[in-house]
């Protein structure tokens, strides 16, 4: 397949060191210093974002605070302030909507814009539009904030282009420079190709990105044992393979535990809190769910998970809690739990209420609706099950890692 000759109309925008940069924007005394935003400000806390200055020292996302401090003892560690990041996301979203209506937030700090047929592109080329966006972010959102922008004929290569030079980069991959760009990249520099996929490609005689681009589809299909081989060929040739948006299929909440907890009695208040949060979001979006799933990740590296279909679609947190608690008993955790995640699936719109022969579902629904209404007026967990209040200190407001589903909710709520 020849490389796509069409002009680049896709732009990928990635806010550099999002959480850390936003904290530096908020507090000028932090600027120019190595800063890390971590889940907890304790030695075992996981670093969620490192400032540009911290990254230069080798402090990266995923390290523990103690590892970061071993590299740089004066590292400034902050805990996340989610509303700061959500508001910056909304400001970026408003700014971007001045250029195109066809854009998708891929995460709290990433946007993909399709500028095809939009007037902004008729007046000036993509790179000029990108430079204007960069300038406006500095003047209208925050002068300390920088973004990487990638431009290409498809979404995938726009993301690759956005990662070529950090921070504050602006690069394009198109038919005239793609061979040059590919020749400078390793297979594992490509998003979606880590050691395992690289080994699969190596097994078929593909060792470089240029080999990858030049390989025939049959060889790629053989490497991936699936249709993915064709998708990779399409992506690297500059054609679109990633313009599918998946609808929501589940709601879930999870938490990383700072303390050593392992018995059901220690974990149940946290499970209750997570379940209440999940159900409040589920009902807020007008859904019921017919299945529950529980996942426990242990500090020793092992993990356990199980999903179960429920007898019918439920909306009441108490029903979900009972089912999740049964799963917790089945899991019989015997060593300290690191992460606990509960989710519900099998979503149906709430108008499809199935009546129960032995119970007055209407009364129960009225009660839940009244509780939701009190919580909507006075704030979450004003009224909730007594059990869930035990988990209040553990289950705090956080931004889901790499997730964008919660963005729908706070975007709708902030209108």
């Amino acid at each position: 397949m020849e490389f796509n000759p069409a002009p680049s109309t896709i732009m990928h925008i990635d806010l550099n060191s999002c959480f850390a940069s936003v904290e530096q924007q908020a507090n000028p005394f932090l600027r120019g210093k190595p800063v890390a935003v971590a889940a907890f400000n304790s030695p075992g806390g996981c670093i969620l974002a490192a400032s540009v200055e911290a990254k230069k020292l080798g402090i990266k996302t995923g390290l523990r605070v103690r590892e970061g401090r071993a590299i740089y003892p004066k590292l400034i560690v902050l805990t996340p302030d989610p509303w700061k990041y959500r508001n910056v996301h909304l400001k970026l979203r408003r700014l971007i909507s001045d250029y195109t209506a066809d854009f998708v937030p891929k995460s709290i700090d990433e946007f993909v814009l399709n500028m095809e047929n939009y007037p902004a592109l008729e007046d000036s080329p993509m790179k000029v539009v990108a430079q204007e966006i960069k300038k406006r972010i500095k003047s209208e959102v925050g002068e300390w904030l920088t973004v990487n922008i990638g431009i290409a004929p498809n979404r995938y290569l726009a993301k690759v282009a956005a990662g070529l030079r950090k921070p504050d980069g602006l690069d394009e991959i198109n038919k005239s420079n793609f061979l040059n760009v590919y020749s400078k990249l390793k297979l594992t520099d490509l998003t979606g190709i880590k050691e395992r996929n690289a080994a699969r490609l190596n097994g078929m005689g593909i060792y470089s990105v240029l080999d990858f681009y030049n390989a025939p589809v049959w060889r790629l299909k053989a490497a991936f044992h699936s249709i993915n081989g064709l998708y990779w060929h399409t992506r690297l040739s500059g054609f679109e393979a990633d313009d599918i948006e998946f609808g929501r299929r589940s709601y879930g909440n999870s938490v990383a535990l700072g303390k050593n907890l392992s018995t059901p009695s220690e974990l149940s208040p946290i499970l209750a809190r997570l379940t209440e949060k999940m159900c409040s979001r589920l009902r807020g979006a007008g859904y019921r769910a017919g299945g529950i799933h529980l996942m426990l990740a242990y500090k020793n590296g092992l993990w356990w998970h199980k999903g179960r279909l429920l007898p019918r679609s439920y909306f009441d947190s108490r029903d979900f809690y009972k089912a999740a608690f049964r799963l917790l008993i089945e899991a019989a955790p015997s060593s300290p739990v690191l992460n606990i995640a509960v989710s519900c699936f099998g979503l149906t719109k709430e108008d499809s209420l199935q009546l129960d022969l032995f119970e007055n579902i209407g009364r129960r629904e009225n009660l839940v609706r009244a509780m939701d209404s009190v919580n909507g007026r006075w704030g979450g967990f004003t009224v909730a099950s007594a059990r869930s209040f035990g988990g209040a200190k553990t289950v705090i407001d956080r931004i889901a890692f790499g997730g964008i589903k919660e963005l729908e909710e706070f975007t709708l709520n902030s209108g």
Partner: protein, 75 residues
């Protein structure tokens, strides 16, 4: 450092000064202004800095009162 105390704030387009513990601190810069809701109440948050301090101020749109939520010195 968490403070959570009522304060007086001089405001025109943005906060200009804050009176805390009988001392007026002139605000040099508003680093970030953001909002959130708790239930129906809308809060405006201002991350501001004086020559020596970074402060987080909260304006409650229901009571129209200001609170100083956090203070950090020049780190």
């Amino acid at each position: 450092m968490v403070i959570d105390e009522k304060v007086k704030v001089g405001m025109s387009d943005s906060p200009k000064w804050v009176k805390w513990k009988n001392r007026v601190h002139q605000i040099d810069k508003v680093g970030l202004h953001y909002t959130f809701r708790e239930g129906r109440v809308l809060y405006h948050m201002f991350s501001v800095s004086t020559p020596t301090l970074a402060m987080k101020l909260r304006f409650d749109t229901e009571t129209l009162g200001w609170k100083l939520m956090e203070v950090e010195d020049g780190i």
